[in-house]
Amino acid sequence: MSVQPVQDTRFETDIDLWSDETLENPFPYYRKLRDIGPAAYMSKYGFWFIGRYDVVKSALADWETFSSAHLGGIAMNDGTNQAWHGSPLNTDPPEHAGRRKVLDDALRPRHLRSALPDIEQRAEVVVEKLLERGEFDGVQDFARDLPLHIVMDLIGWPQDGRETMLDWADGAFNAAGPAGNQRMLDSLPRLAAGMDYLTNTVTKDTIAPNSFGSVVFDAAERGELPKELVPITLAGYLNAALDTTINAVGSLLWLFATHPDQWKLVHEDPSLVPSAFLEGVRMESPAQLFSRSTTRDVDLGEGCIIPANTRVVHSYQAANRDERHFVDPDRFDVTRNPTDNLAFDYGTHACPGRTLATMEGHALFTALAKKVRSIELTGEPTRTLNNITRGFNTLPLRIVAA
């Protein structure tokens, strides 16, 4: 039985991570939170928060202490955790392995090889078309292209419903926010609509053969996956294949537009694209945070103890900007090559789609690097504020050919 320690008010804060102001520019708040201590207690919600790189990384590695299943799951409210029950996200080892294998059987690099030529070719075509136009939107016309076309085909969704998926994906991530948050409440109909689609419109007859989605249905046929978990397993593709990749590409494009010296380096040496892609997700992490739940009291040192049975919000973004780990963390440096950044998570739940997202990013920015001399903003970009994700909604740009 755990003894509830006296609440040490040294670690208490009233910072609200999900207010419009914080979501617009979270970085000063993340710094304050990291400086409070190894963890901070968010009194507005009753959650603890961890944002220092070494604390977040240790927590992600220690799934037994920082569980993804205990207290329902990794979303910040019970309703959404129930909707996500059975997903690999909300499952601990040993059951996690079986849930996760269904995704790995489609997304491991050996399974993606055959898609690479199409991805690279489409990226070249997109860049050529945008060069002809000169001015375009970096999100609507560039970042959304590969996810909405090639990747939807790879997943095998029926044509019916594809146009609404972006809206559902945005809703699904917002639904993971804290209970009572207005953005969370407003998103629930979209979460429901997405789940209805995955249950009733996407079936083994309507999913394309030899697609990522068909791998899910095959696993259910073989008894490797309980049939009732097919929709929530497919949901991984609906959410993660869209917003996260679109945000990564859009944000990196914005970083280049606002740091022409860095674009010059990449344009002159396209072999920097892989390093730049990692630096982009470090600076602007597409998924900002999720949560875990403690299965025991955790002593983080400095007198900071998180009680057992407590939800702890961990921020990949806060960790990725921690000056304790990254030198000059707010500097966008395409030569940094931050292979240890935490944007793709770490340990058991590390992103299964990392290789595909990286392939898309490399293809798009290599095509740009070879053909584009300059990238400039032509107006104010706008953000979509979301409880979990960070990215742009519009990004007005002009590109000039090399």
Partner: protein, 66 residues
């Protein structure tokens, strides 16, 4: 002093490819994206090998001491 080289625990490896991004002199990727250690021997792990060890999300990167 013993010598070592970069190696991969195949049971843990998930082919994220991060080791090759961190330490390309010590490990490459084959056409299936699986790591191929280059058998470069060292007495003390160089910085890029240490980075690869830290970076592998699956904890599969290791040093094989000979």
């Amino acid at each position: 002093m013993s010598v070592g080289k970069f190696d991969v625990d195949r049971g843990l490896c998930q082919a994220y490819g991060v080791c090759a991004a961190a330490a390309p002199d010590h490990v490459g990727l084959d056409e299936e994206g699986e790591p191929v250690p280059r058998d470069i021997v060292f007495e003390t792990p160089p910085p890029d090998v240490e980075q690869a060890l830290r970076s592998c999300p699956a904890g599969a990167a290791k040093i094989n001491y000979l």
